[in-house]
Symmetry: C2
Subunit: 202 residues, 2 copies
């Protein structure tokens, strides 16, 4: 008789409790504190359930939800690097790869392989499922920024052009409808759209 | 042309951000603070993905995950009532029913109806999907209590018999394998198992 997979599964489920202590730059909508990566992942899974009809491609909602539930687990080892702080990104891909090996490797092998593959697929953002999941991961902070007088846009002193350059490709590829909303929000908060703000001089 | 469902959907997704501020009695495993209901829901969705093979019945994993992602949203209006504080439960069912109407009612009608029905199905705990979801919702706090020297068992001064009486039916109905683990954890922390602790005299 094969041994029970339960001990390994419970070890993994205990270990990922630590994601609740990984704090992101994005504020909660009531600005009482910053969001952590576990509750962020919950929120994104709901985005996927509610907004699936706006995906650019044909998506498998369960696969998208799985990707979003696990996409930040690597941050337990690798930490969160804020999207609008590019200088923090050096070496992060390798740190996250190692984290994926260790953390998903706590699971029984078949599940470990499934989660690793889903996570790599999400990171690559090539499949329809991954493009939509990635679009939601970029869209949600924009909604929070727009609802908190600029949020991390203001905190990181990003310009409208930088927001468009960084956010348009991943969001538009996964959901043109969501990019249309996101662009309006960014323009309303960071206007004008002509790229001639002082920060653009260089 | 029908109007876009996006504004209603985004209103709902903004509103449920408040679940991140509903604090439960259960501690994080590192005991740094108590868990909130949004990150709890994320954790449970992972439990469902990882532990589905241990469900008593045939379960549809996407439906179970959906139930767990939305099961606590009613607490935004109704608050959390701790499982081991029965005197807090009076009137809660009606408060939660009203909350489900208001909160899911923010969505376009078809989605509102789907979420309401899933939530009622979870609460009724009669279908195989709902039994398994409910079992996970009862099992996860037991794992946290066992890993934090008793957690809410100690805080709420519950006896082993009370834990068994309250937790065995919902967990065993959804997953006998998980109840076997849960019972061992409770006995290890709250033993003896003979029901003759002083609190049982009445």
């Amino acid at each position: 008789m094969p041994s029970s997979p339960l001990p390994q599964q419970l070890t993994f489920l205990r270990e990922i409790d630590r994601l609740k202590s990984v704090v992101r730059l994005t504020p909660l909508l009531d600005r009482s504190r910053r969001e952590n990566s576990a509750e962020h992942s919950w929120h994104l899974a709901l985005y996927a359930l509610v907004l699936a009809e706006h995906a650019a491609g044909e998506v498998d909602v369960l696969r998208v939800v799985k990707m979003l539930l696990i996409h930040d687990i690597v941050e337990i080892d690798a930490g969160d690097v804020p999207f609008h702080v590019p200088e923090s990104h050096a070496g992060q891909a390798e740190r996250e790869r190692l984290a994926a090996e260790r953390l998903f490797g706590l699971l029984p092998e078949a599940q470990a392989a499934e989660f690793r593959e889903l996570w790599f697929e999400f990171e690559a953002a090539q499949s329809d499922d991954a493009k939509f999941a990635k679009a939601l991961d970029r869209f949600q902070p924009m909604l929070h920024n727009a609802a908190t007088e600029g949020g991390t846009w203001v905190e990181c002193a990003v310009t409208l052009e930088q927001v468009k350059q960084r956010c348009r490709p991943p969001i538009e590829k996964g959901s043109p409808a969501l990019w249309a909303v996101a662009e309006q929000m960014a323009e309303a908060h960071l206007g004008p759209a002509d790229g001639e703000t002082p920060d653009q001089a260089a």
